[in-house]
Amino acid sequence: MTTHLATERSGRRGGRSARNPVGRAGYVFVSGYVLLLLAFGVLPTCYAVWLALSNSRNQLVGLGNFTRTFTDYRFGPAFLHIGLYLVVWLASLMILVVLLSLMLHGRMRRTSTTLRFLFYLPGALAGVASVLLFLILLDPAASPVGWLLKSFGWNTLAQVNAPGHLPVLFTVIAFWTGAGGWIVVMYGALNSIPDEILEAARIDGASTLQIALRIQIPMITKWIAYMLILAFAAGTQLFVEPQLVSLASWGMIPDSWSPNQLSYQYAFQAGDFNGAAALSVDLLILGLACAALVVFRTGLFDRDEG
């Protein structure tokens, strides 16, 4: 997307792309993406906004669907759950991913290829399959790490799944299934830092910690911001984990634990697609607001050379 913006801007400035076949090729390359984005991203979003503002008789109802879903008894708890989950998930994602990729990049150069592959492996599995794997891991009676669960005093699946444990539990699942890809991305970002800078720092007597804190992390801030935006959006839309863990525990997790599940309940249990759309527009606004905040605070889309 950044390349797309860059091409467009340079095209406007110098009118180069009209003459330059490379510029035209750019449009060809992005066209497939744009088409799919329109079909599966932009159009459904517009449809959701329309549904959220209308009722089943196709009349405009203003913010009626929003106020109606807001007063639903499940609305508060669902957003509270997801808020707690996001705090735990985003904090652990930022700290652990950056830490692991710094270690991969610095200390473990020899083993890093293998480790990179290992980190990435869970991400290569389909998301649902990885979650299914966790369903076995979480049952103290069947789990290979049952001793660990029992050492916390959890002897049954019901104790592992206690409502207070859920945000942490889902974080563990999400981290295991999703963080590996980010570690690889961060590793790539660290590689883009010129060696001369690191060498100069080392000659000046900077320790590994100083290099990491003063040079490496500031230079990959944009990547971290990028990760934050996507992880936030994915986190607010949590659905598969609570849904599957609920099925595996015979319904011990409420069917509307997360806002996305609540939206699903609206659409498919109550047949109320307008209410469901209002909830998903809530999530869209949250995601956009967070993205805007992060983009403007970190200057994610600023280009290094004017």
Binding site: Q59, D139, D255
Partner: protein, 454 residues
């Protein structure tokens, strides 16, 4: 911040943002309709008009993995009928795939399966509702009355709405008192006939043989096993979308107290019988277990692997103050014929065969809802020699003892119990403490689906 972005483009961005915001708020303010979702209009019986029929056209059948071999057997016996079989979850364990898909098909206007099986006994509540209900009223010239009359008394209750029958029942899941005869004989215990005796025995077991169990309270279907039998008013519909929920009724609290006592003593488990831990550690220590008729083969034989000749069933328990004993039922599948089907004749024939034929029902894993098939089924059960005693008299008796005050609702009592009460029990609270929370959970859920609760 981003000082290198040209001022003009920032201004343009701001203008666009203002324009978009303006447009959205205009739309938002331009309200002219009510935001209330359309109340599900109950279509009057006269409204059912079949779509244009195409004789001999292919029918699509959705069934779960357990029922698919039956459909395949039908296909083999009727090679002229064109059938497309789709295996799906069957809405087991609280899934609502069928409803979700039908909602989508209703929006797109095509795709409905001609025949669908559901393991969720509540599915009739939504399938019979709406502008064009998914389920066809089979009593209106689709399936003959003589066939419908052949089902056990009350078996079709979860299918009947506004005087029409919208589905056929696959099986009954009437609750009985299961017990391990070998263990009972070994310990020298007598099978209880009342809940009071049951409680006394449970307390005795806890002292004399700690670790042995007389029941479980962590199953999703605990309400249907214990509270239904206790005639608790947890789910009593009093009219179209009107339900009474009163868990402080003495008939509810007496059961909560009974279970609390036995949970505290340790002879009623807070776990569910299907959890890996229970199967591994507790299965061989089950002395008694009130539960549905399908526990016999599905749970004791296939899951717990209890050897032949140990398990037997006794009549549902009665409270000493009550005139007679009542029981509940846990599930019992439904077969729907789609009101959108282009080949109602073939669909109806298949559904009739699946629910009434000795060839399929006689050897099914669950107790047939159709009376004649049930006789064959019981005879076959006897032949397997699995049970320590013939279960026929108990099964037949309890099929007629289901308390009629507990109704099918669009929401699942099981989902509410397991997400509200089970975590509370596991955090150390008692059932009696949890009744109010449970009541609120049921009331909220019912209201969110348009029920009036009193």
């Amino acid at each position: 911040m981003n000082d290198d972005v040209p001022v003009s483009s920032r201004r343009r961005l701001r203008h666009t943002a203002v324009a978009v915001l303006g447009a959205v708020s205009l739309l938002a303010l331009a309200a002219c309709g009510s935001a209330d979702p359309t109340p599900p209009a109950t279509s009057s019986p006269a409204a059912f008009k079949p779509v244009a029929q195409q004789q001999g056209s292919e029918i699509t059948v959705w069934a779960d993995a357990t029922r698919v071999p039956g459909v395949q057997a039908y296909q083999k016996a009727h090679p002229n009928v064109k059938i497309k079989i789709v295996t799906y979850s069957g809405d087991a364990n609280g899934a609502n795939d069928l409803q979700a898909k039908v909602q989508l098909f209703d929006r797109t206007g095509s795709g409905w399966p001609d025949v669908a099986f559901s393991a969720n006994v509540n599915d009739g509540t939504w399938a019979s509702q709406g502008k064009t209900p998914y389920a066809a009223p089979v009593n209106r010239d689709i399936i003959p009355k003589t066939t419908l009359d052949g089902f056990s008394d009350g078996a079709l209750d979860p299918c009947v709405f506004n005087g029409n029958t919208y589905c056929l029942r696959n099986d009954l899941a009437q609750n009985v008192l299961w017990y391990n005869k070998s263990l009972m004989d070994k310990f020298g215990y007598k099978v209880p006939t009342t809940w009071e005796e049951y409680q006394a025995l449970g307390e005795k077991v806890a002292e004399e043989h700690p670790g042995y169990l007389v029941g479980t309270a962590g199953d999703a279907w605990t309400p249907e096993v214990y509270f239904w039998a206790s005639q608790c008013t947890a789910s009593t519909t009093t009219g179209a979308r009107k339900v009474t929920v009163n868990l402080q009724d003495p008939k509810c609290t007496r059961m909560a107290k009974l279970l609390d006592t036995l949970i505290a003593k340790g002879s009623v488990s807070k776990d569910t019988v299907f959890s890996a831990g229970f199967i591994k550690n507790q299965a061989s220590k089950v002395l008694m277990l009130p539960g549905p008729s399908w526990f016999g083969q599905v749970l004791f034989n296939s899951t717990f692997k209890i050897p032949k000749g140990q398990i037997a069933a006794a009549s549902p328990l009665k409270f000493e103050g009550d005139a007679k004993n009542y029981t509940g039922n846990v599930g019992g599948g439904l077969w729907f014929v789609s009101s959108h089907s282009k080949n109602l004749k073939a669909a109806a024939d298949l559904v009739t065969w699946m629910t009434t034929s000795d060839a399929y029902q006689g050897t099914a894993g669950t107790y047939p809802a159709y009376k004649k098939a049930a006789v064959t089924w019981l005879a076959n059960q006897k032949k397997t020699g699995y049970f320590a005693e013939d279960v026929s008299p108990v099964f037949k008796e309890s099929a007629e003892l289901i308390w009629p005050g507990w109704s099918a609702t669009q929401y699942s009592q099981e989902a509410i119990y397991s997400s509200t009460v089970v975590p509370a029990l596991n955090s150390g609270k008692t059932l009696t403490d949890t009744l109010d929370t449970w009541q609120t959970a049921i009331t909220n859920k019912a209201k969110s689906l348009g029920y009036t609760v009193n």
